[in-house]
């Protein structure tokens, strides 16, 4: 179950907790890095691969909730699993609303933690994938000529070649020609594919 490239960060001011958690997670086959404070964690360079963060709430200096907030502001969407010596409902609700994956109270069951870690890593992975896919699509999109973009916008709007030709004052043949290139450049297998791509890209259907 070794997740290649995935890394789990543990941030807790209590030494025993930190060490034991690290041991536990490592024993489950993850790569672990632990920090004694949020500040230390922030100094650390951004992880490459998918990652998640096991974070204590009550810490001296920057506490867990604040760290979550800061990461959100910075746009760093590393999934967070909160662990706390004592928590109350409002705190957990706040944490979850702010995007935490899980909120566990100490002492927590190892299973709960490990499941949450896996879920978090998976989420992060998906996010990465999403992002890279979108990046790729964007790259393809850049390669389209303006005319092709125009055509694509109309195509995904459901218009016929003939209609498109009329709209753009060109011949059907030309439209077809463009269409072929679009499909090729975008690497779309079908119209539906294309539609999905366009949606992902977020370009509007009418040309800009």
């Amino acid at each position: 179950m070794n997740e290649a490239g995935a890394i789990v960060f543990v941030v807790d001011d209590d030494l025993s907790v930190r060490r034991s958690t690290e041991r536990l997670v490592r024993s489950a086959g993850f790569n672990v890095q632990s920090f004694g404070s949020a500040a230390e964690f922030l100094r650390n360079p951004r992880p490459e691969g998918p990652a998640c963060l096991v974070l204590d709430v009550r810490m001296p200096g920057l506490n867990g909730m604040d760290l979550q907030h800061q990461l959100n502001l910075a746009g760093i969407h590393i999934p967070i699993i909160f662990i706390t010596g004592h928590g109350d409902i409002p705190m957990s609700v706040r944490a979850m609303k702010a995007g935490a994956v899980e909120f566990l109270t100490k002492p927590f069951r190892s299973r709960s933690l490990l499941d949450a870690i896996r879920a978090a890593i998976e989420r992060d992975r998906l996010t990465h994938k999403e992002r890279s896919e979108t990046a790729e699509l964007r790259q393809h999109y850049e390669q389209l000529t303006p005319r092709e973009r125009e055509v694509m916008a109309l195509v995904v709007a459901g218009m016929l070649n003939k209609q498109i030709a009329g709209e753009l004052a060109t011949t059907e043949r030309t439209v077809k020609f463009h269409r072929a290139h679009i499909m090729q450049k975008m690497n779309a297998k079908s119209l539906a594919d294309l539609v999905r791509m366009v949606e992902k890209l977020g370009v509007s259907s009418r040309s800009q």
């Binding site: 034991s20 041991r23 490592r26 024993s27 009550r58 662990i83 109270t105 100490k106 927590f108 933690l113």
Partner: protein, 1245 residues
């Protein structure tokens, strides 16, 4: 000139050219017109040189202005350097001055080489213009034509030059004229300006001077007689000076028709003669005097006169007045034979009035000098006069003295010179004075003086101011002074120093008030003796009431005075004697039936005023008490009938109602014929005596009563025999004697005394002592009662100083003694109770004190335990131990010995005989075996009515309680009650405190629940994690055993950690009894830090600690001290809730210090929070005071009581920065470590 035809054309040509040249030359003047000489010449020369082809042309122009001529030259060619015109001129000089003109001349060429032919033309008839020279190298030069041309040109030039010169002259003249005119104009302008300025000044002067100024035109009538004048111009002051308004243009006659003729005459004369006049005159109509200066102005024909004048009317009036005064003065002087003088010493100027001359008998024509004065001065007075004058001129002070003059005919005059000094502005002194011829007066004086000196008596006279100016010879003889020594005010030393003051003041008053003087004083005789004189003086007054002089004399009244003095003294003694003895004396005339004499005291006795009231019989009689009047009258009748000595008593009633007792004695006085003339006698006010007698009687009876009440007997003991001469009733009672026994004997008395005290009593009583004494001893009454006696003795001496007897008192002080010792014991016990002494100690001391009070008494205290059934011994130092053991416990009941029964019945139980009393049935034998034969027990009842215990007394013999014992028991029970109740109350209080502390602890713990939970959860989580990790790690084929072991070790650590936290919490939550053990405060601090660590993290509070190196050891309860410190730490953190996170700092410090000689450990908790106001500091520690919204406010109050229970202090101070510091100090534990401190008491609570 012969014309050569052959050369006809050439000639013609030549001629033509010459004619042309001529014409040209003729035309020159037009060119020259208006030019100046220089240009004319140069043009000429130019033309000539070119026309005639000269080598050069030269002209010398003579200068009309100065003599140096000007040279001009024009050269055909210019060699270098070009020759100067002057040079050429000089070269040609010979020819220029020569007279021959026409011969062609040859000269060396001054303007080049070779020779030249020159032609000379003179300009002007006398060369006044100049000379012209033309020069050419041509041999035929000059040809006739050339000459002609030359001449013509020269002539033309001459004319032009002449014209030019004329023109020049004209121009110069014109310039000169212009310059002169300009100068003239400037002068005129300056003159005008000056004139204007002076006009202005004149105008200003005219307008502003105070003097009047006017100009008039004198009008003349026939024969040039001036008749009037008209005012032409007047200045503003004119009106002021004359009072005439709008004078300008008016005629004087018009203004003042009565104006004196002389005015017109004077002005007319001035107008005609032009002689100015200065004069003073009066203008009667204007009522003014003027000082005028008038002078003619303008043309004589105009008859104008200017007048400058000033109104001197005032001055004139003053002058007139002065003259008048001078005249009066002169007359006055003549009449009074007084001359006046003025003297300026600095310049030796002396001015005399007429009279002064006459006095000195000098002619008025002589100039007065000081020498003249001195000549007349009588030789004998010369020194005085010279001195006086000399001093005056130096001092500049007023002088007034008399001296004699000797006239040429030998007659002597007396003069008095008075002068007053005045300082002029320059500082110079000027004297103004008068010389008075007082010869006649002096003569009269001398006559009188002679009379006075002859008359016996010390006579003297003085000036009105009191200055003695004459002392009679007799005066001088008596005092031994000389006239000089006594004159003036110098006579003062003649009087006795004590009297002088009075004399002076009376004399001064007399002088001031102009009233006669009469004063007695001692005057010193020449031999130093003082004798009394009566000094009298009368003022001699003039008609106006002014004092002319004083006339006085001193009469010798010495002997008289001595006699007076003696008499007065005797009188005083007598009067005093009467007063002291309240005895008045009287004399009664039989004939007149009236008082002849009453002494002062007599008046007083009757209540009259000796100075103001009459001494009539009638008024005295009125005062007699109504009841005694008849007896008085009876006596009076008898005494009138025949001479008797009598003695009567009666009372009088004074005006204020007071009754006085009178004792009167009377004695008849017979005249020489044996007839009864009068009675004399005394009156004595015996009221006091009577009262005293009564008072004595009364006090005697009081005394007897007092003695009885106070158990004090009095006695008197004769020393010689030891016999008790006198003894009071009470004495017998106190000492326990029977009245019928009679006089107590010393031995009997001593027998009474307690054997133990007998010796000391015998010593004092029968001993040789002769001083006051006080003695305490006991006696044993017949019944066996012991009483305490306090006796006081006082020695009585005979007049010869021998000890006669002792008198004194005996007092039974038994009760008092008992009370005193009891009181002192009670006080001591109460102090013990108040001071918080342990109950057993108090009760034991109580029993000891009671035991002392009554010999043979053994007291004990038993306390009832909580269930109300059993009595336990609480104290009883005198009780046999075995017996105490037997009674531990004693169950109460209706028949349980004295105590048990008493506690059961709740009332006192008296068992006089243990052996027989049924209550002791069960304990009889034991008790008897311990020798306890009587037992009385009183229950100790609490304020709420429940039984606390019993107080019991045992005796070793059969005994019933006497009054005293009962009292003792009463008091003891009371004390025991107080002690026990207090102890119980203290106990409850301690319990309540502990409970409250516990409650607070719990609530504090409650506040920390979250932290505690967290504290526990951390290790638990770690444990779970590690355990799970182990599970994960183990199944693998190659387990990482090292890791597993590590994990397991950590599990154990964490589990212990969690358990520690729990343990700590549990400890705090326990309400364990308070321990007092030696503690290291550092441990307490560490505990609290552990408890609060998480909380501090949560709240972002940084905690710093400062721990001393030496262990601060204290005695205390660890849990309670943790509670205190925790409370302070939590409070501190709470205080910083609102503070910015970075500034949340809590400082815990501990150190040892010595205070008041004791070693203390100090712990402080300092926060950086909101702090508190100094005035709130005490409130902080009050129960229920809190600033926290959810707080109960007990924390600090409890903390303080905990610390105080530990013997320390807890207080708060504002920090030096923001926030507050809470501190507590605890006494250091006594060394060495390990020994416990005093136990809190092992008594069961």
């Amino acid at each position: 000139m012969p014309i050569d035809v052959t050369r006809g054309d050439e000639e013609i040509r030549h001629l033509r050219s010459s004619i042309n040249d001529l014409i040209n030359i003729q035309a020159l003047p037009t060119i020259w017109d208006g030019r100046e000489s220089g240009s004319i010449v140069s043009t000429l020369l130019d033309v000539l040189v070119s026309m005639l082809q000269l080598d050069f042309a030269y002209l010398r122009l003579s200068n009309s202005i100065n003599q140096s001529p000007v040279d001009f030259v024009q050269l055909a060619q210019r060699p270098a350097p070009p020759p100067q015109a002057a040079q050429i001129g000089r070269a040609l000089d010979r020819w220029l001055t020569s007279q021959s003109v026409n011969a062609p001349l040859v000269a060396p060429n001054p303007a080049g080489e070779g020779e030249v032919k020159i032609a000379l033309c003179r300009l002007g008839l006398a060369d006044e213009i100049g000379a012209l020279v033309a020069a050419s190298k041509r041999a035929n030069f000059p040809t006739p034509t050339e000459t002609l041309l030359l001449r013509t040109a020269a002539n033309q030039a001459l004319v032009a030059l002449q014209e030019a010169r004329q023109l020049q002259e004209q121009q110069r003249a014109a310039q000169e004229l212009e310059r002169r005119v300009a100068d003239r104009t400037a002068q005129l302008t300056a003159a005008n300006e000056a004139l204007r300025e002076s006009e202005e000044k004149y105008r200003t002067l005219f307008d502003s001077i105070d003097e009047g100024f006017c100009t008039i035109e004198v009008l003349f009538g026939e024969n040039d007689k001036p008749v009037d004048y008209r005012f032409l111009e007047v200045n503003p002051s004119f009106e002021k000076q004359t009072g005439i308004q709008n004078a300008q243009g008016r005629r004087m006659r018009e203004i003042a028709p009565q104006h004196e003729e002389h005015w017109f005459e004077t002005y007319g004369r001035i107008a005609l003669t032009g002689e100015p006049a200065r004069f003073e005159n009066q203008a009667a109509q204007l009522h003014r005097w003027y000082d005028l200066y008038a002078f003619r102005v303008g043309e004589p024909a105009h008859r104008k006169v200017a007048i400058l004048f000033k109104d001197i009317s005032e001055r004139k009036q003053a002058e007139a007045k002065l003259l008048r005064n001078e005249a009066y003065l002169s007359e006055a002087q003549r009449l009074s034979h007084t001359g006046s003088f003025g003297w300026r010493p600095a310049i030796g100027e002396l001015l005399w009035s007429e009279e002064t001359f006459r006095i000195f008998q000098y002619e008025q024509t002589l100039k007065p000098t000081v020498e003249l004065v001195l000549q007349r001065v009588h030789p004998d007075d010369a020194t005085l006069v010279k001195e006086t004058i000399g001093r005056a001129s130096q001092d500049g002070k007023d002088f007034d003295f008399e001296h004699r003059l000797r006239m040429p005919d030998g007659s002597v005059k007396h003069v008095r010179v008075v002068a007053h000094a005045e300082r002029a502005g320059s500082g110079e002194v000027e004297f103004v004075g008068a010389v008075m011829d007082v010869t006649l007066a002096k003569q009269a004086e001398d006559k009188i003086r002679l009379i006075i000196n002859t008359v016996p008596g010390l006579l003297w006279t003085a000036r009105p101011d009191g200055w003695v100016d004459f002392l009679s010879q007799r005066w001088l003889d008596y005092t031994g002074m000389t006239l000089q020594q006594g004159l003036g005010w110098a006579w003062q030393p003649g009087y006795h120093p004590d009297d002088l003051g009075n004399v002076l003041s009376k004399w001064r008053t007399a002088v001031a008030e102009r009233k006669p003087l009469e004063v007695e004083a001692r005057l010193r005789r020449f031999d130093g003796e003082y004798r009394w004189f009566l000094k009298r003086a009368f003022p001699l007054l003039d008609r106006a009431g002014r004092v002319l002089g004083w006339y006085g004399g001193n009469i010798d009244v010495h002997d008289l005075k001595q006699a007076e003095e003696k008499l007065r003294r005797i009188e005083t003694y007598f009067s005093e004697g009467q007063r002291l003895s309240h005895t008045g004396s009287w004399a009664w005339s039989v004939k007149t039936k009236e008082n002849l004499f009453w002494s002062r005291e007599h008046y007083r006795i009757y209540g009259f005023d000796p100075d103001t009231d009459s001494g009539h019989y009638a008024v005295a009689r009125e005062r007699i008490h109504p009841a005694d009047v008849s007896a008085f009258d009876e006596n009076l009748k008898r005494m009138m009938q025949q001479p008797i000595d009598f003695e009567i008593h009666y009372r009088i009633v004074l005006p204020d109602g007071e009754i006085r007792h009178i004792h009167a004695l009377g004695h008849p006085v017979l005249n020489n014929a044996g007839e009864l003339v009068e009675y004399i006698g005394t009156t004595m006010d015996v009221t006091e005596r009577k009262r005293a007698e009564e008072a004595l009687r009364r006090s005697e009876s009081y005394l007897a009563e007092a003695q009885r009440l106070s158990h004090t007997g009095s006695w008197a003991r004769v020393c010689a025999t030891g016999e008790i001469r006198y003894w009071s009733e009470e004495y017998t009672r106190v000492m326990g004697f029977e009245p019928r026994d009679g006089q107590p004997r010393l031995e009997t008395f001593l027998q009474r005394v307690h054997p133990q005290d007998r010796a000391k009593v015998r010593e004092t009583v029968a001993g040789p002592g002769k001083v006051d004494y006080e003695l305490d001893y006991r006696i044993v009454l017949p019944g066996g009662d012991i009483r305490h006696i306090h006796t006081v003795g006082h020695p009585v001496f005979s007049p010869s100083g021998e000890l006669v007897e002792f008198v004194g008192t005996v007092m039974d002080v038994t009760e008092r003694k008992l009370s005193e010792s009891l009181l002192s014991s009670e006080k001591h016990l109460l102090e013990m109770i108040a001071g918080g002494a342990p109950l057993p100690a108090v009760l034991n001391d109580l029993c000891s004190a009671i035991d002392e009070q009554s010999p043979g008494l053994i007291s004990t205290v038993l306390s009832l335990d909580g269930d109300g059934q059993r009595l336990w011994p609480a104290a009883g130092p005198g009780v046999p131990q075995g017996w105490t053991r037997l009674l531990s416990p004693l169950v109460i009941g209706p028949c349980a010995g004295s105590c048990g029964t008493a506690a059961y019945r709740k009332e006192m139980v008296v068992v006089s005989d243990v052996a027989t009393d049924p209550l002791w049935a069960d304990f009889r034998d034991s008790a008897l075996s311990y020798g306890l034969k009587a037992c009385w027990s009183k229950p100790i009842i609490s304020t709420t009515g429940s039984v606390l215990g019993t107080f019991a007394t045992y005796y070793g013999e059969i005994r019933s309680p006497g009054k005293r014992e009962l009292l003792l028991i009463e008091r003891a029970t009371h004390i025991a009650h107080i002690a026990i109740e207090r102890d119980r109350t203290q106990d409850s209080l301690r319990k309540a405190q502990a409970n409250l502390a516990h409650a607070t602890r719990v609530s504090t713990m409650g506040e920390l629940t979250a932290s505690i939970a967290h504290e526990v959860n951390q290790p638990l989580a770690a444990v779970v994690n590690n355990a799970n990790a182990c599970i994960s790690l183990l199944p693998d084929g190659d387990p990482n055993l090292e890791e597993v072991r590590e994990a397991l070790a950590e599990i154990i650590d964490d589990a212990e950690r969690a358990s520690d936290v729990i343990a700590r919490v549990r400890q705090l939550a326990r309400n364990a009894p308070v321990e007092r053990k030696p503690l290291d405060l550092r441990d307490v601090i560490a505990d609290v830090m552990a408890l609060a660590r998480h909380e501090s993290a949560t709240r972002r509070v940084t905690i710093h600690t400062e721990i001393p190196k030496e262990p601060p050891l204290v005695l205390g309860d660890r849990v309670q001290l943790q509670q205190v410190l925790l409370n302070l730490v939590v409070n501190g953190m709470d205080a910083m809730n609102a503070v910015e996170e970075s500034k949340r700092v809590l400082m815990i410090c501990g150190h040892c210090e010595t205070r008041d000689g004791r070693l203390e450990s100090l712990v402080s908790v300092q926060d950086a929070g909101t702090g508190f106001k100094p005035e709130q500091v005490n409130r902080l520690f009050e129960a229920f005071y809190t600033t926290k919204p959810q707080g109960m406010g007990m924390g600090l109050a409890i903390s303080r009581s905990i610390i105080e229970a530990h013997g320390g202090r807890l207080w708060a101070e504002p920090s030096q920065g923001p926030g507050a510091t809470f501190l507590f100090s605890l006494p250091a534990a006594p060394q060495p470590l390990g020994k416990g401190g005093p136990a809190a008491g092992d008594a069961a609570s």
